[in-house]
Assembly symmetry: C2
DNA sequence: TTGTAGGCGTTATCAT
DNA sequence: ATGATAACGCCTACAA
């Protein structure tokens, strides 16, 4: 079933069918009606490849992230997919796996499919060569990054100010008389760096305990977080609050702390379902994923539409604290 | 940069370039070498739309599910995407949101993009009209379903036998002298029905307590599960174990039970990260998602390759129990 | 308002 | 081994 078949059945030319299909050009109500009827009757769909060939677009957006199985990326992809679909845009999903500095090929998978734009969530790219590839690509199609910043003149960056978010948390903890705040983190991605800088800034400005042992880099697993907290307690390293770069770490830290009879405020990051599922429920830094994603999609639609109003090359949202039980515990002794 | 440009630079015809590009037909080593060199030098990529038009395929697979933000679907999509990419297939992701009986349109979004096959995870479709649409589509392109069964002659179904899984759990609990097993579930999807049937079968075969109050249908939220458990305890409804259709419900049930001083074995379903994050860690029924997904992808690749060996229309895996702390509690009094 | 014809970039079938 | 050329199905000037 092609446009020719429809045209024949309607006794019109393919141009007319194409016009009613795209609402372009004037077509008499009568013919339009008839064509529409036949199209529906025949359940005709224009061939997307042919259309893509002519228009040089199939209205598909590449979405790149490390792994959708991760709750944070999953939420982001979900939000983005929904928003894009409302704009009649499809999502081609591409997961790189761990960032090993050799992820440029995933970028190429997307460009080979001629997507109209690429949204990158987090930091799946980092090596010099990966970023060189990204830069090259960004001259051809719009690149929108969420919570990372590759400093490309041609890319659009949308971030949450997690640095100030963590700093605010440190302040609030200090108000509750916490002075030895343990910080657990896993990676130094863009987001990861911002957070630790926020932590350090908070510690410094309030002259809190800056013992090196209070800053611990560990793998992002329950086991690692449990072990380190237990170890610190065993080693008599004093701390009166815990902040983590990921909810997952906070879950495990809380578990280990409680198991060892240590009741301190614990605060995670990302405000994910994990924070809610932990008992007591975890207070968590909300990085405004909804806002980041809707802004990203809005940016995409602006960039790929001809009559686009200018869009900012960088957008920043403030982080918010989602308070739950684990912070109520700050009435500790 | 088109195939014409490459041909010109090489002083050959586009046919020759096409041949070296696809490894079809004989080309002298010399020309092949030169063409390859120019292709690399020019960073040339064949236009996927043009190729799609000719081949009637762009090697894209549609993946349909209710919501990737859900940990179960997220894991599934992640596994599928990885496996498909290894086969040089791309994923077009499509999330329907809650199953309201009007999700056929999402199926159409995918077919409009001319995907080579559709993998459906769970039960995003259910109404008569949705399934009619699915049936129609299934005559045109391969449909592979994971953990659901639409009984379409032309579709391929891959499921986990959760019925027997739950039944086994009931048996194990009975061995530990549990006789009043509370079952919390949310929806009666294909998977949901199988599970409750397994529960009922177990209760019946062992003549356990079948009080209606021990089977509770609730929304899939932490709050709902907490409330119902608290209410049952307040109402003096006796139970000595809890089984839930989802890990999320088990998390909340465990929280409510412990809060009310009730220590009973609790077992969830899906063996998700939530089960691990709960404290104590939850024993959970593992529905073999890895196997389901790899089988789905294998089925897809078989179906879309011309020289395909026959594939079974239905594949069944057995469920497994992932034992954790919440089952250790079965040494209760 | 409608029709004609050229172009989009491949692949594949013929010749040569 | 290589080249010319016809599809593939659509969009869109340009003509009528």
């Amino acid at each position: 079933m092609t446009i020719y078949d429809i045209a024949k059945k309607c006794n019109v030319s393919i141009a007319t069918v194409s016009r009613v299909l795209n609402g372009s050009g004037r077509v008499s109500a009568k013919t339009s009606e008839k064509v529409l009827a036949v199209i529906k009757e025949q359940d005709y769909n224009p061939n997307p490849f042919a259309r893509g060939l002519g228009l040089n677009s199939m209205k598909m957006i590449g979405v790149l992230c490390a792994d959708v199985a991760d709750t944070f990326y999953a939420k982001a992809v979900s939000l983005i997919e929904n928003a894009l679909r409302q704009k009649d845009l499809d999502v081609v999903l591409c997961c790189t796996g761990p960032n090993n500095g050799k992820n440029a090929k995933y970028l190429r998978y997307l460009t080979k499919k001629h997507v109209d734009a690429i949204i990158i969530i987090g930091t799946p790219l980092s090596s010099r060569s990966d970023i060189a590839e990204l830069k090259k690509i960004s001259s051809g199609i719009p690149i929108i990054t969420i919570n990372s910043d590759y400093h490309l003149p041609s890319a659009f960056s949308i971030v949450c100010d997690e640095r100030e978010g963590i700093r605010m948390i440190i302040r609030k903890l200090a108000e509750k008389n916490c002075r030895s705040i343990l910080y657990l983190y896993d990676t130094l991605t863009y987001s990861g760096r911002k957070k630790i800088v926020g932590y350090q800034a908070g510690i410094e400005e309030l002259s809190l305990d800056d013992t090196p042992a209070l800053t611990q880099k560990i793998p992002c697993t329950l086991e690692a977080a449990e072990n380190i907290v237990k170890k610190l307690i065993d080693d008599n390293v004093f701390f009166d609050a815990i902040v983590t770069s990921e909810d997952l770490l906070a879950v495990a830290a809380q578990r280990a702390a409680l198991k060892n009879g240590k009741v301190v405020p614990i605060i995670g990051c990302n405000n994910s379902i994990l924070a809610e599922c932990s008992t007591p429920a975890l207070t968590s830094l909300d990085n405004r994923l909804e806002n980041l994603c809707t802004t990203a999609v809005h940016t995409v639609t602006q960039l790929i539409s001809e009559k686009s109003s200018p869009v900012p090359s960088k957008t920043v949202f403030s982080a918010q604290l989602a308070e739950r039980e684990s912070f109520v515990f700050s009435d500790k002794k």
